[in-house]
């Protein structure tokens, strides 16, 4: 079972109370961008077995979006943090390093 703590309302809820929103920290490439960038934005998503950063929405709760760092294999949650965050925060990355030495995710490690 995946248990997430919503940073907006503080509820520690079980997976079915939330809605997954795909990979976190994507940079949007819209009108005026190159075809390669647009293609990468649309289709080149991370799909790791292990450390991953995702967007989630507390759909059956406060309704807010937030970020979660977790392990897709063990369902261990390293932390949740506000949606208004452009990249994985330092404290979350340190927590992951302690639990998964040598981890990598895109340009972060």
């Amino acid at each position: 079972m995946l248990i997430l703590e919503c940073p907006c309302c503080g509820v520690k809820g079980e997976e079915t109370e939330f809605a997954p929103g795909g990979e976190a920290h994507l940079k949007r490439f819209g009108p005026g961008s190159s075809e390669d960038d647009f293609h990468a934005y649309l289709f080149e998503k991370e799909n790791p077995r292990g450390v991953h950063f995702e967007r989630w929405r507390h759909a059956n709760g406060c309704g807010k979006w937030f970020h979660a760092a977790r392990d897709t294999l063990t369902l261990e949650v390293f932390g949740t943090y506000p949606a208004q965050t452009a990249e994985p925060p330092k404290d979350i990355r340190d927590k992951i390093a302690a639990r998964r030495p040598g981890w990598r995710w895109r340009e972060f490690s």
């Binding site: 509820v11 109370e17 759909a59 059956n60 406060c62 309704g63 807010k64």
Partner: protein, 191 residues
């Protein structure tokens, strides 16, 4: 004007716990800066309460105010008082960015009563929520999933829980609450 009707007038069930539809209830969705002094004034004028803290619900007479999200409250009062409460909110928040909408007819409310353990058990059967005495108590509100739909509930006291859901799923939610109390289904986890 037509006569307003609640979702399931008179619906009731008696089993391991009792369920009844509460009838018409005035509800206002109020969004804005919950920390602003004008918001405190609006809530006081509309419902006579202070602004509830995170995941809390406060009561005063026939009115209640529930914390729904970091920028949203649910103001509950008598159905007929909603226009008056909306006017009070509008006056207090004049010029401030906010939203106040009458959602009374978009919702349904049920009351589950019974032995303290039985009402906790009814919710625990339907929602992924820890209903243990240390985890949930009167004064708190919990928005969650009940069966397949969104719902919120709070305890009025140890033997009374109120459930609010969208009116369009009222029959479904009533059915869930009824089935959770059918004879033979008692678990007794909460005493």
């Amino acid at each position: 004007m037509s006569e307003a009707q609640s979702a399931m007038p008179g619906a009731a069930f008696e089993g391991a716990h009792t369920v009844r539809e509460t009838g018409l209830c005035g509800m206002i969705t109020l969004r804005g800066d919950l920390g602003a002094s004008a918001m405190a004034e609006a809530v006081r004028d509309a419902a006579g309460t202070a602004v509830p803290g995170r995941r809390e619900i406060v009561h005063e007479g026939a009115s209640s105010v529930a914390w729904m999200s970091p920028d949203e409250l649910l103001v509950m009062t008598e159905y007929a008082r909603v226009p008056e409460a909306l006017a009070a909110i509008g006056a207090a928040l004049k010029g401030a960015h906010h939203l106040a909408v009458d959602v009374s007819d978009a919702r349904a409310m049920f009351e589950v009563t019974g032995k303290p353990g039985a009402v906790r058990e009814a919710i625990a059967k339907l929602c992924p929520v820890d209903m243990g005495h240390d985890a949930f108590a009167p004064g708190q509100i919990r928005r969650t999933r009940m069966g397949q739909v969104a719902a919120a509930f709070w305890m009025v006291d140890e033997g009374t829980i109120r459930v609010v859901c969208f009116r369009s799923v009222a029959e479904y939610v009533f059915g869930l609450l009824r089935d959770a109390g059918l004879p033979g289904g008692e678990v007794g986890l909460f005493g």
